[in-house]
Subunit: 347 residues, 2 copies
DNA sequence: CTGAAAGCGCTTACAG
DNA sequence: CTGAAAGCGCTTACAG
């Protein structure tokens, strides 16, 4: 194996100093056209690629973005495993990161100590947080002086960090309004946990607004939560269990609003396995519009959000913040849209 | 913002040289118990975290593993987007990487030039390739002197690199045998492209072996391919289209073997939308056993592979190779298992 | 057992 | 417009 080509080799070859090579590489200072050409040619002939590690060390900038997942069982396994949601998001992030010459590092964070050491060790330029984290972590974040963009989080943190969200309240409203318009009155709402997930809380507000407008009183027996703490993932399995609870309910439920397509699919499966039909017996609305929605029977009515674009926007925001460090906290709110398919029908 | 704590600060605080701090950090050479204690304490009190960038530069080792996806449209978007397969795999990789103090960098590779510069720039310690790449890339790989583990690839490359696979031939055999045992004779086989994907080719061999054993002649009209080149992703959509082709077939097909659950689900959807029933009119077998298989109706009979474990094994193999560079090319073949659910029935 | 010094491959005031 | 030199934060022969 040959020795690595360094800036010094290029300098020697082009008969200039390493500093000059660095100048042309960085487009800094005025280097004469003639010299620049010689250097560029040397770079080409020697097949030279600058070493990012060295650049990071001397520039104090790594061109590395960390994507942080909340953890379960010491791996982001559970969170990502079933839900194509995260695939899409990461895809969006990656595409803009690469365009801007950043690489992405993915990790799950199990505890604060792990987080702290990880960020410090790697000299990350910026961080993207996906989803919900324990409050302690947000405090820890403040101590670390790099740009952070939060995705799918609300409330107190919003005022401190940048973030990108969708109009969750409207999403909950549209889903519910759709069912109300179809004549449904006993509409269940299925969330993870609205105390813990402010995203779900907003959607729940939208649900209540739609009921309110239709003069339908809120009935707490129609409200279902799947999780008790931060450690829950959205899985088909927990959707399925909620489906069974709905079957046991005495509230004469005819329609169901959920905060995730995964839940909706799990619920529908439970209903169908117990001999109920969708949408004849129950109308069901999902949330997200993952591609699968089109390929189950019945196809799933859902609130669409552009997850890929969410990833893109978050990455752009972060990279902007990295490049112009003065930028202030701000929020982007992306639109949502109701997609009507075959899992809902008039009562 | 306070200045970063360096090894020098620690050294000063503990009243030793930076070299000594480095020794205790690396557990190298014998440092006296007493000195070591002082250093450790200084590290704790100053809240010191070694800078990986600096370590990388001086050790010539980044503790970074690259996960490389094959690309479409300049992002790994399409490949990953619909298929939870990759989630699981990455989860498995991440969990062992983190345990061993490696971080993972994710990228898609659009062209060779991009690949080359990416690997060189980042001083990656090792590479994991997911899926299929153009032959040119394999040649390029050889030139770069770092450990590589290929996942889901076969043939000439196998002899050069390490890789982890499953017993694909057996998978194809088990799926087909199951249908044969149920009395089916006209069994379709759906692949991406067996010229391009040796994985699919092996499964196809298994399919033919099962037919052979049952004295059923191979009928080329029962063989369906979805892709024409390297650029295809496995999507519900292409499964759906194959489903429509199957409906149009005059071969009196009663059963279908596929190389992916995603295809199977797309196919079933097409069949159902056109008024056919599964398994009454068609028995369908998937491949992979993604979690969704349990939550569609009918639940999907499939060939299970442990994707998570595949990721773990690949990461272990790679890290071993990084730590003991002498290790030779080798292969791991993971088992497969038929999971019978409701999408298949006796003819 | 411990430390001074050179080096990893780049960047960047500073001087000319 | 160009270069010598110091520095980024570590590691590692080498010497003692």
């Amino acid at each position: 194996m040959s020795k690595k080509t360094t800036i010094r080799d290029v300098a020697k070859y082009a008969d200039v100093s390493p500093a000059t090579v660095s100048y042309v590489l960085n487009g800094v200072k005025k280097v004469s056209e003639e010299t620049k050409l010689r250097v560029l040619q040397a770079i080409g002939e020697l097949n030279y690629y600058p070493d990012f590690t060295a650049i990071s060390l001397s520039k104090r900038k790594s061109n590395l973005i960390g994507i942080v997942f909340s953890l379960i069982d010491n791996s982001f396994a559970e969170v990502m495993r079933e839900n194509p949601y995260y695939n899409e998001m990461i895809s969006g992030i990656e595409i803009v990161a690469r365009k801007k010459n950043f690489d992405i590092l993915i990790t799950g964070i199990g505890n604060i100590e792990e987080y702290r050491s990880w960020v410090k060790k790697r000299n990350l330029d910026g961080l993207l947080f996906l989803g919900l984290f324990p409050p302690k972590l947000y405090n820890e974040m403040k101590k670390i002086d790099i740009p952070i963009v939060l995705i799918d989080t609300y409330e107190e943190y919003t005022n401190v960090y940048k973030n990108v969200n969708i109009n969750d309240e409207l999403g909950g409203y549209l889903a519910t309004k759709h069912l109300v318009d179809l004549g449904h009155r006993n509409i269940a709402f299925v969330a993870t946990n609205i105390k813990v997930s402010l995203v779900d809380e907003r959607r729940f507000q939208g649900y209540k607004r739609a009921l309110n407008e239709a003069k339908i009183p809120f009935n707490n027996n129609l409200f279902f939560e799947t999780l008790l703490n931060f450690e829950g993932a959205i899985t088909f399995e927990s959707g399925y269990k909620i489906g069974e609870q709905i079957l046991e309910s005495r509230e004469n439920i005819t329609a169901i609003v959920t905060i995730s397509d995964i839940y909706a699919i799990g619920i529908i499966n439970a209903l169908q396995k117990h001999g109920k039909r969708v949408p004849e017996d129950y109308s069901v609305v999902g949330f997200d519009d993952i591609s699968m929605c089109n390929y189950i029977l019945p196809s799933l009515t859902t609130v669409k959000q552009d997850i890929f674009n969410k990833g893109e926007e978050a990455a752009k925001m972060l990279i902007d913040a990295i490049e112009i460090p003065s930028s202030k906290p701000k929020s982007i709110e992306l639109p949502v849209k109701l997609i009507v398919r075959d899992s809902t029908k008039p009562l």
